[in-house]
């Protein structure tokens, strides 16, 4: 069966686009061939900086003939209908149609259409130009004379030539002839730009790849990567060093060369005073080079770096290594300048006094000065949420409130919050935004900040995702929560919520961060009070004007929505942890649907997270104007995420017991009966009247429900969910006996209403813990 070789050779394609482009080419070509009725055995794509190549094996030489019958109108149909049929079937006269008979419908026309198969070459010649014209490059361009006219060909960079050959193994392949904007497909390509500038005539993939290799082009990107990686490791090793591996850089570098040659360069030891991360990023971002360490070192870098050239230089690469060394030195001089500048006074200190006072900054310290400048410059955080300065003020006040709850020192948390964003004004972060936080920490340590404050400057950005580390130092926890909660409440207030796949402010990640930070540190925090504190004390002055949803009277709806956003993140989190989602739903459904404006905040010692019963000593509420109204509403507003988790755990353990299973069955049975009767409109007594009991089982169940309910309520007030479950478990026996010995639907209406009321008491009692109707099984 014949094979197809396609090469699109262009000027240098950006490294980051090559892999996907080659994949797109394969998909578009194979899809197109299949759609045209051809099949193939295998297709492999290749790429270099200057070419996308496709090797398709075992393609049919022709597509099959296709015969089809097209049903038409009745022979008695009006002329118009028949004319339409002729047009759609491609016939010129109705005599060309056949007449079929149907016992019910009578005679009707049928067109016999046969499409003869086409030669694969013809299909290919028709297919490829369309693919080239509609190729999905992220950014494409026009070029040359042709670009004078509208609609000229677009490609990622000028397309230079096309190779397209087709033919069976045993015969000489032919060039598939097509032309696009003056570029005619042929069998000629070119090798390495400098080593082998001459034309190369190719027949099929085997000689193509071999001739390219001889012309100093390694066609396979994964092989280029392998060569670079192993040569780099060996070169480092031979010099007593270890390569600092970097997959993304390796991928990029392999897309910058056709003939990789690995070389080593060096810079002065003095530059090693710059933090390792800054050196690595400087050399990587600007020079696309790898850094190395002395073997056995884990942190510090060596002063040698590894570069990948695209030629086998006449002098063995001395000039190249020397030249790269010069550029790296110049870049590191800049980095060193940034690093030292950041540790010195700002030139415009006199203008920063007001901002310094506003935040209680120590203007003798470099990082404090940077925070003052961040405020002074009025850098926007979000048009509707104000400046970075205003944001830091909010984070500071939130951190101050959250600190005692998470066991952090208030002064330290405030200090960390005030400095949290200061490094955005440093030169190093200006150059490498990905170092935000990490640089804040380094500069904070250099100016003698408390280690917890310094750590918080970096860790308050954490966790960045489901697998990132959660901060554990109480100061970091306080600032991390304050930062993320400010963002979430703020963006909800201006109605910038994530929609579908769009989440430009990474709010899902922030909410998951809050969930993980609270739960993995065992922190009890009522989110409701935080929401209202933000709204009453922190919201930007003009927020009401921001969106219709930022109005005060929209608050309750907004907060319910935000809380359910947290619940969704919590569900995802718990599900990933292996929790049953029906239990989560059952626990969430047992809570009141709206948030009380006042709420509770409390904590247990951080670092816990174990499943021992909750302690009873609670520090007083930290949020002003909020009484620690713990107890009567304790389990119902569902704004305390850790408590939800505890309830899910307790419920899960309970349902694993025999008592739990039976109680669930009994409760469900009762609830079903009740629901059915309620639907019919059967009266249910407002309260249970023992005088109406006829059976012993009724008395026993009533006594048990009374007892269990008060016990469970007491346990829940103490937030001891296991005890609450235990209290409910004694209901199992009386519930079972009740259903065994008592017919709910008694003839006496009063007795029936009373029994239904008794059933509703079971539901009320269990509802304290979870909505059992949501539980599966």
């Amino acid at each position: 069966m014949p094979d197809l070789l396609l090469e699109l050779r262009s000027e240098e394609i950006p490294a980051r686009m090559q892999r996907k482009a080659a994949g797109d080419l394969k998909k578009m070509v194979t899809d197109g061939l299949v759609e045209a009725g051809l099949t193939y055995e295998a297709a492999v794509e290749y790429w270099t900086p200057r070419r996308l190549t496709l090797d398709i094996r075992g393609l049919n030489a022709r597509s099959k003939d296709v015969h089809e019958e097209k049903k038409g109108p009745s022979t008695k149909a009006p002329e118009q209908a028949i004319a339409g049929f002729l047009r759609s079937a491609g016939l010129t006269d109705i005599s060309q149609a056949h007449i079929h008979s149907d016992p019910k419908k009578g005679d009707f026309y049928v067109a016999h259409i046969s499409k003869p198969g086409r030669a694969a070459e013809e299909i290919i010649a028709e297919l490829i130009p369309g693919i080239i014209r509609t190729f999905p490059w992220p950014k494409s361009m026009r070029w040359g004379k042709a670009s004078a006219k509208p609609g000229s060909l677009r490609w990622v960079r000028p397309l230079q030539s096309i190779v397209c050959t087709f033919g069976p193994e045993t015969e000489e392949p032919v060039v598939v002839d097509f032309e696009i904007d003056g570029i005619r497909a042929g069998n000629v390509t070119y090798g390495h730009r400098f080593h082998a500038p001459g034309a190369i005539t190719v027949r099929r993939f085997e000689d193509y790849i071999a001739k390219l290799e001889a012309a100093k082009v390694v066609l396979d990107a994964d092989r280029r990567k392998q060569i670079i990686l192993s040569d780099a490791r060996n070169l480092a090793f031979a010099n007593g060093l270890e390569l600092v591996e970097d997959d993304l850089l390796l991928e990029e570098v392999s897309g910058l060369v056709e003939w990789p040659v690995v070389l080593m360069g060096e810079f002065e030891q003095d530059f090693l005073a710059i933090p390792a991360e800054v050196i690595r990023l400087t050399i990587r971002a600007n020079q696309k080079c790898f850094v190395t360490r002395v073997q056995g070192e884990t942190e510090n870098l060596s002063n040698r770096f590894i570069l990948t050239a695209n030629i086998e230089a006449k002098d063995g690469g001395k000039e190249i290594a020397h030249g790269n060394g010069k550029v790296v030195r110049a870049r590191l001089s800049d980095a060193l300048y940034f690093w030292t500048t950041d540790q010195h006074d700002l030139p415009d200190l006199d203008q920063l006094t007001d901002s310094g006072k506003k935040f209680g900054l120590d203007m003798a310290k470099p990082l404090d000065q940077r925070m003052a400048r961040l405020d002074h410059l009025g850098v926007t955080f979000h048009a509707k949420l104000g400046t970075q300065g205003a944001r830091v003020e909010r984070i500071k006040r939130l951190a101050r409130e959250i600190a005692p709850i998470v066991g952090a020192d208030r002064a330290l948390a405030e200090r960390a919050a005030v400095l949290a964003k200061a490094d955005l004004q440093t030169e190093v972060v200006g150059e490498f935004p990905e170092l935000q936080g990490a640089m804040g920490r380094k500069y904070a340590l250099l100016q003698g900040e408390h280690p917890s404050v310094a750590a918080a400057l970096e860790e308050h950005y954490k966790p960045q995702g489901p697998s990132d580390r959660v901060p554990t130092d109480p100061v970091s926890v306080a600032v991390a929560l304050a930062d993320k909660l400010d963002t979430l409440v703020g963006f909800w207030a201006i109605d910038e919520k994530p929609t579908g796949s769009k989440d430009p402010y990474a709010l899902r990640r922030a909410a998951l961060g809050v969930v993980r930070t609270l739960i993995e540190n065992g922190v009890r925090l009522g989110l409701g009070p935080i929401f209202s504190f933000w709204e009453t004390s922190l919201a930007p002055e003009n927020i009401e004007a921001a969106t219709p949803l930022s109005k005060t009277d929209m608050r309750p709806a907004r907060n319910v929505d935000l809380l359910s956003f947290f619940h969704d993140r919590l569900k995802v989190y718990l599900r990933d942890q292996g929790a049953r989602h029906d239990l989560i739903d059952a626990v969430l459904a047992s809570g009141a649907p709206s948030l009380p404006l006042a709420g509770r905040v409390s904590a247990e010692p951080t670092g816990g997270g174990g499943d021992e019963a909750l302690g009873s000593a609670r520090p007083p509420s930290a949020l002003p104007g909020i009484s620690p109204a713990r107890g009567e509403m304790g389990s119902s507003s569902n704004d305390d995420l850790l408590q939800i988790v505890r309830r899910v755990e307790a419920l899960g353990s309970f349902l694993d017991t025999e008592d739990g299973k039976n109680l669930l069955a009994g409760t469900k049975r009762g609830a079903n009966i009740l629901a059915a009767e309620e639907k019919k409109g059967t009266r249910v007594a407002d309260a249970v009247d023992p005088a109406l009991f006829r059976e012993e089982a009724e008395h026993k169940l009533f006594a048990a429900v009374n007892h269990a309910e008060s016990q469970a309520a007491q346990a829940i007030q103490n937030e001891d969910f296991s005890a609450a479950m235990l209290a409910l478990s004694v209901l199992r026996e009386p519930v079972d006996s009740f259903f065994e010995g008592v017919l709910v639907n008694d003839e006496d209406e009063a007795v029936r209403a009373n029994r239904l009321a008794l059933l509703s008491r079971i539901r009320a009692a269990t509802d304290k813990v979870a909505d059992f109707s949501k539980i599966a099984g």
């Binding site: 361009m141 040359g144 004379k145 670009s147 695209n310 030629i311 006449k314 190249i320 030249g323 550029v327």
Partner: protein, 319 residues
């Protein structure tokens, strides 16, 4: 291909020799070799020979040196790599010839860069000038890891689609000279290629000026006056465009005053750069200043298309 120069004018010995070699190379190709534009600009692209001539259908091949001023990059002569005044060598070919990469590599060979000794690379770099409303795709050209040129296929200039596309090559002359002369400090470049008493260095020519202009740019430029200059240039640009606009009443189908108007756009842009260096433009204001210059550039570009050089054909509209 290159006309022979005396040994002391070889690019590896002389800064001016480098310039002359490039002049010869591109003159040989057929470019008009222009002299620098006589106004302060931030880059060679601002020269009307690029900004305006990149528009319209007419063929245009030009090469020139353009002194470029970036007030913010001043370092009082203390940084060996950074200058607030430096030279760009600019080549503009419209439409771009299909072998533009080869032509560029030929120019490197002409100044003594052997591609089998030095690692020459084309690394993705999408170019954009917000103030000129211009963008294009191309590369940074690397020589042994150093960016020595910018290579751009203009797609849009002054907010107008380029038809046909022009290829633009911009060589950073000081960098390139430092490379071929093997010098680590720009001020040590040999300017005239002579040795001993006759040698003139780049520092002798420019160091004092760098120090003085750094003072001016960062400390002394009168911001009130500059702000006024900006307003004046903006107003003048608009007024000139209005005054020269085509008019059916006067049977005047062509625009009559594009180049003078564009000068005012250049002026506004440079004044903005000075104000920026003086640190009197806030982050939010920055955007609006850039937008104002861009609007001027756009209006000039549109006007240019209504001129002879812009390819406007009288008989198109005469009927």
């Amino acid at each position: 291909m290159t006309a022979s120069l005396p040994a002391h004018m070889h690019p590896s010995r002389s800064f001016q020799g480098l310039i002359l070699t490039l002049h010869n190379y591109w003159a040989e190709y057929g470019c008009v070799v222009l002299q620098p534009y006589d106004m302060e600009v931030g880059a060679g692209t601002f020269h009307p020979a690029t900004t305006l001539r990149a528009l319209g259908p007419k063929k245009w091949n030009a090469a020139y040196v353009q002194p470029s001023r970036r007030p913010k990059d001043g370092r009082y002569g203390e940084n060996p790599n950074r200058l607030q005044h430096y030279y760009q060598y600019q080549v503009i070919l419209k439409p771009n010839p299909s072998n533009l990469q080869e032509l560029y590599l030929g120019s490197l060979a002409a100044i003594g860069i052997d591609p089998l000794l030095h690692d020459i690379r084309f690394v993705e770099d999408d170019w954009e000038s917000p103030t000129l409303g211009a963008w294009g795709l191309g590369w940074e050209c690397w020589c042994d890891g150093m960016e020595v040129s910018q290579f751009t296929y203009f797609q849009q200039v002054c907010g107008i689609e380029c038809a046909p596309v022009a290829g633009e090559l911009t060589y950073g002359l000081e960098r390139l000279a430092m490379y071929v002369q093997g010098v680590d400090n720009v001020y040590d470049l040999n300017f005239n290629g002579r040795e001993g008493d006759d040698k003139v260095t780049y520092g002798e020519v420019f160091l004092q000026a760098e120090q003085e202009y750094s003072r001016f740019n960062f400390e002394h430029a009168n911001t009130a006056v500059l702000l006024r200059h900006f307003e004046d240039a903006e107003a003048e640009c608009k007024a000139l465009l209005d005054a020269g606009a085509p008019s059916s009443k006067d049977n005047q189908p062509l625009h009559k005053m594009v180049f003078p108007a564009y000068d005012q756009c250049i002026k506004a842009s440079h004044v903005f750069n000075l104000l920026d260096a003086r640190g009197v433009i806030s982050v939010t204001e920055r955007q609006s200043y850039i937008l104002r210059v861009r609007n001027l550039a756009k209006a000039c570009g549109e006007a240019f298309l209504q001129t002879d050089a812009g390819g406007f054909q009288l008989n198109d509209k005469a009927a």
